[in-house]
């Protein structure tokens, strides 16, 4: 800036005083940018730090029973020998994550003892000293570093067109903001309390490793290294939290097809002769060695059945207490509507109906009164059928992007049809989908529908009055950002009027459920109605997004075929 003054003074010979008087404003604005340019990455720490600060002020916010769950696991892994980890049942919140997560808790407990030793005693149920809260909250915030790193890696692998746009319009900036400031992750991890940030970090890192392969195509060795790294990360992830089994089919098919077969025919179909047994062995040995590391000790102790019974408790019902917004919520709703209609029209006898059905939404076991009941095997078949479309990447692999799309379909398909699905599982589709959303216009539209409904369906997680404003504010913050940034990125509206109307309906649902209904007399007689309305309304949006995503995948498949003809 000094040079500029000197130059200005010498060229136009303005008296120095005049420049002073102008408060440097005129000369400032052109040269000093308020925000740095895109090519340096200084904005990334700013985004990450900003959200970390936000997480830190939420330390004293409400936390759910999951807080006690993880405290109990800290205590179990710290004070008991490995052989008792999966047998211990003093608390009702028994250890039901795979062994690697138990080891993760074990390592955390060594830091925890410097905060408050009492939290590591198994008998101290529902122990919440300030030091315990501080430690557990900080552990989530600090392990989120994995997530932050993974987001950075994902941003590096985003494709973008050349252009001299400002920083805020770059796809990688938008992606970073959408992932780091994701509403669902913030409230599930930092208010409700869970460790999803760190787990999704590993997932995204694994996805990024597959995406980055494209850039290193010429270097055979590097390509190999990245795929194996991605596979390794995913296997570790599976051994940390087995819910990621939902997306394992996508990984399996992709790695088998695109990694184990090294060449395609000219029409894109698989060339069977190019099968590389070495690669298959490499993949297999990664999966087996990680599995052995994790489950080996328990197999050696003969505890495998016990561990598996903890991991897969099929005693639970079709739907969680609060119905996740999926097909079964609609199914239950239709059943209920039919039964009410039947009673009204005197086609059904009230006495013969199952008792629980009239208070549905609050009980674990939901018995259908008209429609046939659904068994776990049926949900499994439905899920498998819904993700059959993935086989298309077997016929025509479309690189890592095709894989990513299949991963999202897989996550969403199992969310739609799975047995005892939690509403939080929607994040498994939303987070990876963010990457696709900043690359294609159509995906951006589906993304907006899916995230907005999916995030709204998380609202019942936070039901305390004090947290109402925070969830509304955070949701508005994220939704406003995602809409305006994607709209700017793709230069135009992404939703049709019907979709917009549906999303605006969410505002009405929120006002009805959390402001109007609690003041009405039905609050005492029919307290479950707001939850029911929320999950049914959201399930419409999620189903719609699922169908659109499915269609987009099929259509792509179709156009590929067409091109070849």
């Amino acid at each position: 800036m000094c040079y500029l003054y000197v130059e200005l003074q010498s060229v136009i010979s303005i008296p120095p005083r005049l420049i002073h008087r102008g408060q440097a404003s005129v000369y400032d604005t052109g040269c000093v940018m308020a925000t740095p340019r895109a090519d340096d990455w200084s904005w990334f720490p700013a985004l990450a730090l900003g959200v970390s600060f936000l997480k830190c002020i939420l330390i004293n916010a409400y936390h759910s029973t999951d807080f006690e769950v993880h405290r109990n696991w800290l205590a179990i892994t710290h004070s008991l020998p490995v052989s008792k980890w999966y047998h211990e049942n003093t608390s009702e919140w028994t250890l039901d994550y795979p062994p690697l997560f138990a080891w993760f808790e074990y390592s955390l407990s060594h830091v925890a003892q410097h905060f408050d030793k009492e939290m590591l005693v198994v008998q101290n149920l529902i122990y919440t000293s300030p030091a315990t809260i501080l430690f557990q909250r900080l552990s989530v915030i600090v392990t989120d570093i994995v997530f932050i790193y993974a987001v950075k890696e994902c941003c590096r692998s985003v494709r973008e067109e050349k252009g001299s746009k400002d920083l805020l319009g770059h796809p990688f900036f938008i992606l970073a903001a959408l992932l780091l400031w994701n509403f669902g992750l913030l409230i599930v991890d930092h208010i409700h309390f869970q460790y999803n940030g760190f787990l999704f970090g590993i997932l995204l890192l694994s996805v990024a490793r597959h995406l980055q392969v494209l850039y290193f195509m010429t270097l055979f060795l590097v390509e190999q290294g990245r795929h194996l790294e991605g596979a390794l990360l995913f296997t570790v992830l599976l051994n940390l939290k087995h819910i990621y089994l939902y997306i394992a089919p996508a990984y399996g098919i992709f790695l088998l097809r695109s990694y184990c077969f090294t060449k395609d025919n000219t029409d894109g179909s698989v060339r069977w002769s190019s099968f590389s047994p070495v690669r298959l062995v490499a993949l297999g040995s990664i999966v087996i060695s990680v599995g052995a590391l994790s489950f080996g000790p328990f197999i050696a102790m003969g505890q495998l059945p016990q561990v598996l019974s903890r991991l897969f408790p099929f005693k639970r019902g079709l739907c969680h207490a609060y119905w996740a917004p999926n097909v079964w919520a609609l199914y239950n709703m239709v059943d209920k509507a039919l039964s009410v209609l039947g009673v009204r029209l005197k086609l059904l006898d009230v006495a013969k109906l199952p008792k629980a059905s009239m208070t549905g939404g609050l009980v674990q076991e939901f018995q259908h009164s008209i429609l046939p009941s659904v068994s776990p095997s049926i949900t499994l078949i439905c899920t498998l059928l819904s993700i059959m479309v993935m086989l298309s990447i077997w016929c025509r692999p479309r690189g890592a992007r095709g894989f990513l799309r299949c991963l999202v379909v897989c996550a969403l398909g199992s969310f739609m049809f799975g047995w005892h699905v939690h509403e939080k599982a929607i994040l498994m589709a939303i987070l990876p989908f963010s990457i696709l959303a900043v690359e294609s216009r159509e995906d951006a539209g589906i993304f907006l529908m899916l995230t907005t409904t999916g995030h709204y369906s998380l609202f019942p997680l936070l039901f305390t009055a004090a947290e109402l404003p925070i969830k509304v504010l955070l949701m508005l913050l994220f939704t406003l950002y995602s809409f305006t940034s994607l709209k700017k990125l793709f230069r135009g509206s992404l939703l049709n009027p019907l979709e917009t109307t549906y999303l605006l309906g969410l505002v009405a649902v929120e006002i009805l459920c959390e402001v109007v209904y609690p003041l009405s007399p039905w609050q005492h007689t029919l307290p479950f109605v707001p939850l029911l309305v929320t999950s049914v309304y959201c399930s419409l949006g999620v189903s719609y997004s699922f169908i659109r995503l499915y269609v987009s995948l099929l259509r792509q498949h179709g156009t590929d075929k067409h091109k070849q003809l």
Binding site: M1, H20, Q23, A46, L168, I470, L477, L480, T484, S485
Partner: protein, 476 residues
């Protein structure tokens, strides 16, 4: 992205931070018998709701003034009455007041009265909204400062846009919400008077003066309407507003008297009356230069500087100052964030730090640390504070060598604040000096305030008188 969406995102972020702070404990939670400011607000609602107006400020059998008696002007009382109709949503009320008064004023100020690109304006909005002192006091400690400060800010914005009558109306309302707004009153007065002078006291200036005077008197009369019937009422309210008997200072506050008290025991040497006159004289002396300058050159830039200089001088030298009153100078300093980033950030950080003992008493350690770090990081990063350190940028024409020292001393002072904060939390004070850390905190902040008072005075006084006319000639 369009400006409106960026601004909305900033505002939403500011609101989120505010609400997140309110989820922590509040002033005096579970500390009988007096509890804290939260209990005071609740008690005022009780008093205004249940008692007739003429008993509000009097000690009666129903109204024990020793237990959080009303000691704010009538608008606060009316506001309590309004809140009392919907008791149970107290923090919501603060948020609503913020959203209706303070935040729109901040946005308007940044967009219409500050310079730079649109992005820079958005950054200014974000930094002002993230100022930790106000967030922590309003949402952590629980007070309604954003109303009085917001009204004063409306005054500045409206005056800056050229509507003198509306501006004086907004300021009178703010004065009637909290009497501490007197700290800002002299610059408002001088700015308006200076404007009248400039337009010529014989013609249009006189007309403007009359208009403003009438507005001020009518607004005052309307605010005080229920108390006007009886002179005794007015005197009692005034007596409640200015409790002269409470001494030169209470607790530990980062002003001259408390800091001087370490060396000389002023409180015991001088009588209360002498203290009062002494502090009055020093305050007037300290604000005189900036007021005269403003009177001679009533521009917005001078006005903002005079607001800082006057309120800071009041804070440092006047009678019965509370640590929370530092928010009054902090407001105009926020307005300088865009023009003088580093000094403004420095002041704002020091002002937050000066209230540390209060935050610790309220259990607000975590929000204090987090919001301070966030503010420091974002303001330095977004306003590129260190790139504005040359002597031209700091407007220090006369002191050539100072600017090179500034970044270093800034870091030193921030480190020292961090160290003192850590010591206050982690170390036990020695037995013979139980107040050691609060005292260190206030003396350390006092030194900052004194230095920055000098600096802002230099910037204001050093600006040449003539340039405005030259500029006008040029533009004509």
């Amino acid at each position: 992205m369009e400006n409106w969406s960026l601004v909305s995102i900033c505002v939403l972020f500011g609101l989120t931070a505010r609400w997140a702070v309110s989820l922590n404990s509040y002033s005096g939670a579970g500390k009988p018998p007096m509890f804290g400011d939260y209990e005071a607000q609740r008690h005022w609602q009780e008093v205004t709701y249940n008692l007739p107006v003429h008993e509000w400020y009097f000690n009666t059998t129903d109204n024990n003034l020793n237990y959080w008696g009303l000691d704010y002007p009538p608008l606060t009382a009316y506001h309590s009455l309004l809140c009392a109709h919907d008791h149970g949503f107290d923090f919501c009320w603060v948020l609503v007041a913020d959203l209706l008064i303070y935040i729109p004023a901040v946005v308007l100020y940044s967009f219409y009265l500050s310079e730079g690109s649109n992005k820079k304006k958005v950054c200014t909005v974000l930094c002002i909204l993230l100022y930790p002192g106000l967030i922590l006091i309003d949402y952590g400690h629980f007070q309604y400062n954003s109303i009085s400060l917001g009204l004063a800010l409306w005054g500045v914005v409206v005056l800056g846009l050229g509507w003198d009558v509306l501006g004086s109306l907004a300021f009178v309302l703010s004065l009637n919400y909290k009497q501490m707004e007197l700290y800002h009153s002299l610059p408002f007065f001088c700015y308006l008077l200076g404007k009248c002078f400039k337009q010529g006291l014989a013609g249009r200036g006189l007309f403007l003066l009359v208009k403003i005077a009438v507005t001020v008197l009518v607004t005052f009369a309307l605010c005080w309407l229920p108390f006007l019937s009886d002179p005794g009422q007015i005197l009692q309210v005034v007596h409640r507003l200015f409790p002269v008997g409470r001494g030169l200072f209470e607790d530990k506050v980062a002003n001259t008297w408390c800091s001087l008290n370490v060396l000389i025991k002023i409180k015991t040497i001088l009588s209360t009356d002498t203290q009062l006159y002494f502090s009055l004289t020093t305050t007037l002396l300290a604000i005189l230069p900036s007021s005269i300058k403003l009177l001679m050159k009533p521009t917005l830039w001078q006005f903002k500087l005079a607001l800082v200089n006057s309120s800071l001088a009041f804070f440092l030298f006047s009678f019965q100052v509370h640590e929370k009153s530092i928010l009054l100078p902090a407001l105009p300093v926020c307005l300088l964030l865009n023009d003088l980033p580093l000094p403004a950030i420095w002041f704002l950080q020091a002002s937050t730090f000066s209230m540390l003992p209060l935050f610790l008493k309220d259990g607000l350690l975590v929000p204090y640390v987090v919001t301070s770090l966030a503010f420091l990081f974002f303001s330095i990063y977004l306003l590129s504070a260190f790139e504005h350190c040359s002597e031209d940028k700091l407007r220090l024409g006369c002191l050539r060598h100072l600017p090179s020292l500034i970044p270093g001393s800034f870091y030193f002072s921030i480190t020292a604040m961090a160290g003192l904060s850590f010591m206050s939390v982690a170390l036990a004070p020695p037995d013979q000096l139980p107040d050691l850390f609060p005292l260190l905190v206030s003396v350390f902040s006092y030194l900052h305030f004194l230095g920055l008072l000098l600096y802002f005075n230099i910037v204001q006084i050093a600006e040449p008188l003539q340039s405005v006319r030259k500029n006008q000639k040029k533009s004509n």
